[in-house]
Symmetry: C2
Subunit: 226 residues, 2 copies
């Protein structure tokens, strides 16, 4: 590319990355609010999450279109192309994180319909905080294209998986002890499962960061080799 075209390309890609971060900020808010609405049984907060979902979907489609357009128009090679493709993949993951937040908001509304009283969800709150931190660090690593920070997030996903396993084990035990609470405990498991998936998506985004910088594909590698 000539210098002029290359500068144009950088500007356009920069604008796309800015929008991706804006989408990331909205997704973080969705996860924050959906989890908080569930543990505090806040119906109006859950409804706000449901309403914002549409905006996220529109952002996804608009961003995806812009990525296709920049590839078609600028025909980037090698590392520039890896950047755009990394952004396209991150868009999909962010949208799926939004889907999980939306799923949690839906479940919150159903629980309230059933009139089940609020409980103390200690483990779930901890897991919620962990995935918010992971998502935040993943977006940060993506924005700064920092593969070391990205590798840290990938490692952190193990703790989230362990927290998930612990919640499922505890809820399963509680179900046997309190069969009348089965529906409610099952919903808690679903919410934990959504958090676990959000952690996976944050991890995916970090794998794209490493792919962008090093051009090597770290998916399916053992964590020790990162």
């Amino acid at each position: 590319m000539s210098r002029h075209i290359s500068e144009q390309y950088d500007l356009e890609l920069g604008a796309i990355r800015d929008q991706l971060m804006e989408m990331g900020g909205l997704v973080e808010q969705q996860v924050q609010d959906a989890g908080a609405a569930y543990v505090t049984h806040d119906m109006s907060m859950a409804q706000e999450v449901r309403q914002r979902e549409r905006r996220l979907n529109a952002m996804e489609i608009a961003l995806d279109d812009q990525c296709v357009a920049i590839i078609a128009r600028r025909q980037p090679a090698a590392s520039d192309l890896r950047n755009v493709i990394g952004v396209m993949k991150a868009i999909t993951d962010l949208e799926r994180v939004g889907d999980e937040a939306n799923r949690i908001a839906k479940m919150t509304l159903q629980i309230l319909d059933q009139g089940i009283p609020a409980h103390q969800y200690g483990d779930l709150r901890g897991m919620h905080q962990s995935v918010i931190a992971m998502l935040n660090s993943a977006l940060d690593a993506f924005a700064r294209v920092n593969p070391e920070a990205a590798a840290e997030v990938i490692k952190a996903d193990e703790a989230v998986d362990d927290a998930y396993d612990a919640i499922v084990a505890r809820c399963t035990e509680d179900m046997s002890a309190q069969p009348e609470e089965i529906k409610h405990l099952l919903t808690t498991i679903w919410v934990a499962r959504s958090f676990e998936r959000i952690g996976d998506h944050a991890k995916n985004m970090c794998e794209y960061v490493i792919f962008q910088v090093q051009g090597r594909d770290v998916r399916h590698q053992s964590k020790s080799s990162l």
Copy 2:
């Protein structure tokens, strides 16, 4: 592109699409065997699924690399570019379907460890057959780039979602009636959830078919407008 370059491009893209179909065939087999292993408690079949998972992951990375390489080398415009991007997205979905099959195989091995006797899983078998049919039709629609067939698959996903809801409702009831079966019923719910996700991925692939042909993005549209 000149005619010669365009023909070269078509040949290369054709080779990528052939490999995608090969990957699709392997994924179908994984879903078939994982579901069958679970409902018949066939431990060696579940282990075979676990072993083949590695081959799928290698196919995903190799195919993804080839897509990036063809974009960088051939710099396709407009509809050609949409084709490659559609293939890249389909690769991700196929790999995730493989993950779900692997998850089911893992659960099958855990169940057998617990020594729980085989049950008749009528609803689950039906759902298994439905998602296999969906996945097969989705691959077919993708191979033939047939948007009408793709739209049919997208509509079929509703029935799979309904089947999933029915299984969860039944298992939840059974848990209250037979608390000693809670762990087992929970696993059945997880397997149904994996089937439901597989249906979603098949649906995603069909959305890419429509995107490739019509260049319009049908994600997040209501089904009636398809």
